[in-house]
Symmetry: C2
Subunit: 357 residues, 2 copies
C-alpha cells in the first residue's frame, strides 16, 4: 500500500490497522509524491519496494491518495513482473472523477507532461466521498474543473446544477447539499466512463471529448514547472477554448460568458500570464504530435455539446483575440460576482470534519 505523507497524517492509523487485519504479507509505504516527484525515479522506487518484498505475480499494489499517487502506482504495477494487479483508493475529488477511474498511468520526463506511461486497468477503484472532507478548498476546486469539463462537453443539466449549488459544494467539500454532492460526483464519473469506454487505448480515434481543457494546459503546467496545478491549468484552458469558440462564432458569447462566469464564481482561474500566444502555439504543436498529426481541438458549441476543430488554423490573431476576450470577461465578471464565502476558508483552517455551512 502506497500513500503520501498528507494522506498518512490523516488516515495512516486507519490504513495500517486495516492492513494488519488482512491475511498474507503486506507493507505500508509513505512516499513523498506531488507533481514535482511524478517522474521515473519515484516509479522505480515503488518497483524496488516490490522487489525487496519479492512480490509475486499475484501481488497487489494499492494506491491511497490523489492523482499523482494513482499515476505512480498504476505505472509501477504495469511493469512489475510485466504487470500485476493494483487497486486505487482516490482521496481527492480529481482522483475520484478523473485520474483514478481511467486505465492510464504516466509520469513527466524532461519537463514534458506525462511523456512516459501505460494503459493498465485497475483491479478495482474504491470511491468514498467521505475522503473529500479532509481536502483543501483548492483541491476541491481542482476536481471541479474536471467535473465542469464533462458538463461543458456533454451535460447542460449538470452544468445548471453546478451553477445552483457549486459554491456550496465547494465550501462544504461536497458534503452538502448531500444529494447534490452525491449526484454531481456520480454523474461526472458516469459521463467520463462512457467516453473512456469507447476508445480505452486511444488507438481508435484522436477525437476524444475528454481532451477538453487538455490542449493548452499541459504546456501551461510545463511552463510553470508544474507550480500551476493540473485543475487550475485545465480551467484556464477551458476558458480560452470557450473564447476561441466564441471568436469563431461556434459558441454564443452568452454561453462562453456563462461558462467562464461559473469558473470565476467557483474560484477557479481563467487566465495566466504564462499562457501567451507563443505558449498557445507551442501547446498546439505538442498536442498535434500526441494526437497523431491532428489538432482535434475539442471546441464547445454550447453548454453541453462540443465538436472537434482540426482544419481551422489557430492563427496568432485568433489566439490573441481569444486571450483578450477571456481577460475582458474576467474583469467584467469579477466586478459583479460574489467571491466564495469566507466560511469556506475558516473551515479549511479549523479542519472541522463537519461542514460549516
Amino acid at each position: 500500500m502506497i500513500t503520501s505523507p498528507t494522506v498518512h497524517s490523516l488516515y495512516g492509523e486507519a490504513l495500517t490497522s486495516l492492513l494488519a487485519s488482512q491475511q498474507g504479507a503486506h507493507q505500508y509505504e509513505v512516499l513523498p509524491l506531488g507533481e514535482a516527484r511524478k517522474h521515473m525515479r519515484t516509479v522505480e522506487r515503488v518497483c524496488e519496494l516490490a522487489a525487496r518484498m519479492k512480490l509475486d505475480r499475484r501481488g497487489l499494489l494499492v494506491a491511497v491518495g490523489g492523482g499523482v499517487c494513482s499515476d505512480i502506482v498504476t505505472f509501477a504495477a504495469s511493469m512489475i513482473r510485466r504487470g500485476i494487479d493494483h487497486l486505487r483508493i482516490p482521496t481527492t475529488l480529481i482522483g475520484q472523477v478523473d485520474a483514478g477511474i481511467g486505465i492510464k498511468g504516466a509520469v513527466n520526463l524532461q519537463g514534458l507532461k506525462s511523456f512516459v506511461g501505460c494503459f493498465h486497468p485497475p483491479a478495482g477503484v474504491l470511491l468514498d466521498r467521505a475522503f473529500l472532507q479532509s481536502l483543501s478548498i483548492h483541491a476541491i476546486r481542482e476536481g471541479l474543473a474536471e467535473v465542469l469539463k464533462m458538463a461543458l462537453v456533454r451535460d447542460a443539466e449538470l452544468f445548471a446544477r453546478l451553477e445552483r449549488c457549486g459554491t456550496q459544494l465547494v465550501a462544504s467539500r461536497f458534503q452538502t447539499p448531500t444529494l447534490d454532492g452525491e449526484q454531481v460526483v456520480d454523474q461526472s464519473i458516469r459521463l467520463m466512463l462512457a467516453e473512456l469506454q469507447q476508445n480505452p487505448f486511444e488507438d481508435l480515434s484522436s477525437q476524444r471529448l475528454v481532451d477538453m481543457g487538455h490542449t493548452f494546459s499541459p504546456t501551461l503546467e510545463e511552463r510553470s514547472r508544474f507550480r500551476i496545478s493540473h485543475g487550475d491549468a485545465v480551467a484556464v484552458d477551458m476558458a480560452l477554448t470557450c473564447a476561441i469558440a466564441a471568436e469563431l462564432g461556434l459558441m454564443s458569447i452568452h454561453d462562453a460568458k456563462r461558462f467562464i462566469g461559473l469558473l470565476v464564481q467557483l474560484g477557479l482561474p481563467v487566465a495566466s500570464p504564462l499562457l501567451t500566444v507563443d505558449a498557445c502555439r507551442d501547446a498546439i504543436r505538442s498536442v498535434v504530435a500526441h494526437r497523431r498529426g491532428h489538432l482535434n481541438l475539442v471546441t464547445p458549441m454550447r453548454i453541453g455539446a462540443a465538436t472537434f476543430l482540426d482544419q481551422e488554423p489557430m492563427t496568432h490573431r485568433l489566439l490573441k483575440a481569444a486571450l483578450a476576450r477571456v481577460t475582458a470577461f474576467e474583469r467584467e465578471l469579477h466586478s459583479i460576482t460574489v467571491t466564495p464565502p469566507k466560511s469556506s476558508v475558516r473551515f479549511l483552517e479549523t479542519g472541522n470534519a463537519t461542514p460549516a455551512l
Copy 2:
C-alpha cells in the same frame, strides 16, 4: 535507432547511411549496453532521447543489436507516450532465435533478473543471418543454447541435426553448411513462435515449454552478478534439469547423457560452482513466485518431448544427486569428446568475414 558500441564499430557506417537515405527526422544513438546496464536508467535514457526529439505517437524506435538492446528498446517503446512502435534488427543468434522474436521486454532491478518489463509486440523484426558472421564464438554458443532448448522440448530431428553439424555451425558462425545454418535458425524460430502464440501474455497458463532452461538460470545469473551470460546459464540449467529427470526416472540416462554430451561437444558449460543446492532451492522459490504459485518445472521425458513437474518435491537429496550426476557425466564426456576445432578460435582472432572451414 539505438545500437551498441560493438554493433556501431561493425555496422555504424552502413546504418547511418541507411538512415540518411530515409525521409523524415531521425537520430542515431550508440548506447553502452550489456547485461550490467539492463536497468531502468538505460530505459529512461532512451525515453529522454525520444523526449528531446519530441518523438510523436507515430514515432518509431529501431533496436539494432543483441538481446539487451532489444529488451531496452522494447520497454522504452512500450512507455513513450504510452506506447509507440518499434522495429528490431537482432544481430546476435540469441536475438534471432529468442529475445528478438517474442513480444517481451524487461530489465533487471535490485539484482533481480527481468523484474520489471512489458509485453509490447514489435511492428517488425528483420532477421539477417549475415550478422552472425561478426559474432564471437561464445555469442554463437549462447544462441545455440536456446536452439537446443527448443530441440529438447519439441524436436528430436533438430537435435539430431545439431549432433551432426553443430560443431561446424559454431565454427562457421552458422554460415556453413549453408542449408543447415538456414534451416536450424528457421526451425528454431518456428518452434519458438508456435509456443509463444498459444499464450502470448503468459496469463492463460504458467506451463510454458519455452521455460525449459529458465528455472535455475535466472538465479545463477543473479548470483554471478550477471557475469555468467544468459545462454551459458540456460545450458547449465538444462543439464541439471536432464539430470533431475534422469534421477526421477522420467528420462533415460542414455538421453540425459546424449543431451549433456551435445552441450559439452558444442563448448557450452553444464555446471557452475555457483549453482549449489541452496541456490537451486532459492531459484525454485523465485520461479514459484513468478509462475503464480506453481513450480511447473519443464522436465524432458526424452529428446524432443517434455512435461511439467509441479507436485514433485525438489528435495535437497534429489538436487544434490542431480548436480553430482551432471559433474560425473561431464568428467566422463570430457575424456572422450573432441573439443571444438582450433580453427574456430583463429577465425575469431583474425575477424575474417568468410568462414575459415
